[in-house]
């Protein structure tokens, strides 16, 4: 069960999407095929930490993020929030829960309603939950806009999203996510579509709110360099499964899984003198409809052994705070 300091726990989470079929195929096909986007994922998130789900596109990290905030419903498995099983929560109880967990999206150009002014968009959560109206609401909105650096807030409150730059829009989205004073925020690639010179600003804002508001983050990214900068603990995902998970220090000091090693070796370093030795991987990421047998990474693995094609490895603790799913010696 949950230990006292865990704010979120995910257990054996699975999300399978049925593959769309045409009318005829539905009549004649034998069995249903599924995209196994998230395939048996388990991890805890400690209160106050920044927990990162890292991986390439298609690994299931974004789907997992959405499952945790119940924007999607799991196919199976359990989600716990502060000791409460929220997997099946519905109706008013779910709405109340939503005040405590929020999500920030990747695309600043799609995450704000083009027909709402910034002030209305940011303040709408307060209205939704009947927490503040009119002038009181306006006060809170101005305050939170100030906090995210959209100053002077009186000016931004009446603007529409198309009048803001990408970085400013993402700040507005951040403002919207903290206005209800949540305990937990899922940040889905919050800076990957923002200019490089602005990324640090947004990241610093998020770190600042962790201190100031006592937030916990589930950070989702494909950029391991950013992950290294911001995380406390990291889980690397591949094809729907967590293949390595641990504290930032352990993971980067001694990555054990061949995929993690290959991933880290492929990341460019802003230093022309440094000669990287990238590990080569054969082939490309297979489709999540036809997952390879045994260890799903085995067709591409440079350290492949016989058992790898037969048996799927479990996540095993190989040192303190460091688990790997691999048939190591």
């Amino acid at each position: 069960m949950l230990r006292l300091s865990e704010i979120v726990k995910v257990e054996n989470l699975r999300k399978y999407f049925p593959v769309q079929k045409s009318f005829l195929e539905q009549i004649f096909a034998r069995r249903m095929r599924y995209v196994k986007a998230v395939d048996d994922v388990t991890f805890p998130i400690k209160k106050g930490e920044i927990f990162t789900l890292a991986g390439e596109s298609g690994c299931g990290k974004t789907t997992t993020g959405r499952l945790v905030v119940r924007l999607l419903n799991p196919t199976s498995g359990k989600i716990y929030f502060n000791d409460l099983d929220i997997t099946e929560l519905q109706g008013e109880k779910l709405r109340l829960l939503r005040r405590k967990m929020q999500i920030i999206f990747q695309d600043p150009y799609a995450s704000l309603n083009p027909r709402m002014r910034i002030g209305d968009a940011v303040g709408h959560p307060l209205e939704m939950h009947g927490l503040a109206k009119g002038e009181d609401k306006e006060k809170v909105v101005l305050d939170v806009l100030e906090k995210v650096g959209l100053t002077p807030p009186q000016q931004f409150i009446n603007l529409h999203p198309h009048q803001l730059s990408g970085g400013q829009r993402q700040r507005a989205a951040l403002a919207r996510s903290i206005i209800l004073q949540p305990e937990f925020i899922v940040a889905d690639e919050p800076v990957s579509m923002i200019d490089v010179s602005l990324r640090t600003t947004i990241i610093d804002l998020m770190l600042g709110f962790r201190k100031e508001l006592g937030l916990t983050y589930l950070f989702i990214t494909h950029d391991l360099a950013v992950a290294k900068y911001i995380s406390d603990r990291i889980a690397v995902m591949y094809l729907g499964k967590i293949i390595e998970i641990g504290s930032k220090e352990r993971l980067f000091l001694k990555p054990m899984h061949p995929y993690t090693q290959a991933l880290m070796s492929a990341i460019p370093v802003p230093d022309p003198k440094r000669k990287r030795k990238p590990i080569e991987l054969k082939g490309e990421v297979p489709s999540a409809i036809n997952i390879p047998s045994g260890c799903r990474f085995h067709p591409r693995c440079p350290d492949k052994k016989e058992t790898c094609a037969l048996k799927e490895p479990e996540l095993v603790e190989i040192e303190k705070d460091h688990l790997v799913a691999c048939h190591l010696d």
């Binding site: 730059s165 200019d195 602005l198 494909h222 460019p268 802003p270 080569e280 490309e284």
Partner: protein, 328 residues
């Protein structure tokens, strides 16, 4: 024996005449590219790097127009060139790799057909059979099975499509290849493979490369010389090693300090305040002054000239005097 540069650009200016006003996307850009050299164009959105790349091919889309300057490829000024001669340069002498491999290939044409069209447009005497054979050779160099010449684009993954794009760009053995954000839409492991492939092909065929990217890391890793663009201007122009060791422009300096380096622990990253300017209404004077920690009175009034702070290190900043020494 004076070595003639492959590409020579002089005071280039490119405008977009939009419904809302005139945008100067590229302003006073000058540089030379030698045969076989790699040049990186680094910059963020609105910096003008993509427009610059497109203008070398004279492919700037409407309502963009080259308003000033010269672009000389092998001593020929291509700005005044008639269209049919320009077409033989495009794909022939200069190859272009577009950003999005998903939409850059014709979905109803087989891969072989793409190559055949390219080859026969430039060398009309080639038969279809010959062209296909050459295409198969290119595919082999790209690491794609030659039998797949009869496949359609949708049968390939994003990474493979980008390889095909590279193949199309180099098929006619151009002297120069321009790669515009070639790996932005791709995952990091695929990105590594693509960039390595580009590098090895480049060496085999002796091509010059202009690599355009917002990712300063890949530019620093792979380019001999680098131009940092900001709001249409060249902010800094020097070798990669020099740029990393001693960046002179405040923008470059701050930018380098805001990129996380995966090989370092306990990094202290610093942010650049403000945001890139609205190109419809850029600031007076130096375009970076609203965000510059060293801003002086003159910066708000005049655009700084491009100065050689050191023999091979140009910078556009009033911090550097005429003789190149750093002021104050």
């Amino acid at each position: 024996m004076i070595k003639l540069p492959l590409l020579e650009i002089d005071s280039l200016a490119v405008d977009y005449q939009t419904g809302r006003g005139r945008v100067r996307a590229v302003d006073d850009v000058s540089f030379r590219l030698e045969k076989g050299e790699t040049l990186g164009l680094a910059g963020e959105s609105g910096s003008g790097k993509s427009t610059l790349g497109l203008s070398i091919m004279r492919l700037v889309p409407y309502p963009g127009v080259i308003v000033n300057g010269h672009i000389k490829i092998d001593e020929t000024d291509i700005i005044k060139l008639p269209e049919h001669e320009m077409r033989s340069i495009r794909g022939g002498k200069v190859g272009y790799i577009f950003q999005d491999p998903m939409t850059s290939l014709n979905p109803v044409k087989k891969i072989g057909a793409h190559f055949v069209e390219l080859i026969r447009t430039h060398e009309p005497t080639t038969s279809e059979k010959e062209a296909l054979e050459r295409a198969k050779t290119v595919l082999k160099n790209l690491g794609i099975l030659p039998e797949r010449i009869n496949d359609y684009p949708h049968q390939f993954s994003g990474g493979m499509r980008q390889r095909i794009m590279i193949g199309l760009a180099i098929a006619l053995n151009p002297s120069l290849v321009i790669a515009d954000e070639p790996t932005t839409a791709l995952d990091v492991i695929v990105q590594e493979k693509i960039l390595e492939l580009l590098e090895s092909l480049r060496k085999i065929y002796g091509m010059a490369l202009i690599l355009i990217s917002h990712d300063l890391s890949i530019i620093l890793e792979r380019c001999d010389r680098i131009i940092v663009m900001y709001a249409g201007h060249m902010a800094e122009y020097t070798t990669g090693a020099e740029l990393h060791r001693a960046p002179k422009h405040p923008y470059t300096e701050r930018l380098l300090r805001s990129i996380p380096n995966i090989e370092l622990s306990d990094q202290k990253l610093s942010a650049i305040p403000g945001s890139p300017p609205n190109m419809l209404n850029p600031p007076e004077g130096c375009r970076f002054w609203p965000r510059c920690p060293y801003v002086m009175e003159i910066c708000r009034l005049k655009v700084p000239p491009l100065i050689a702070a050191e023999p091979s290190h140009l910078v556009r900043c009033f911090l550097y005097g005429e003789k190149g020494a750093k002021i104050e």
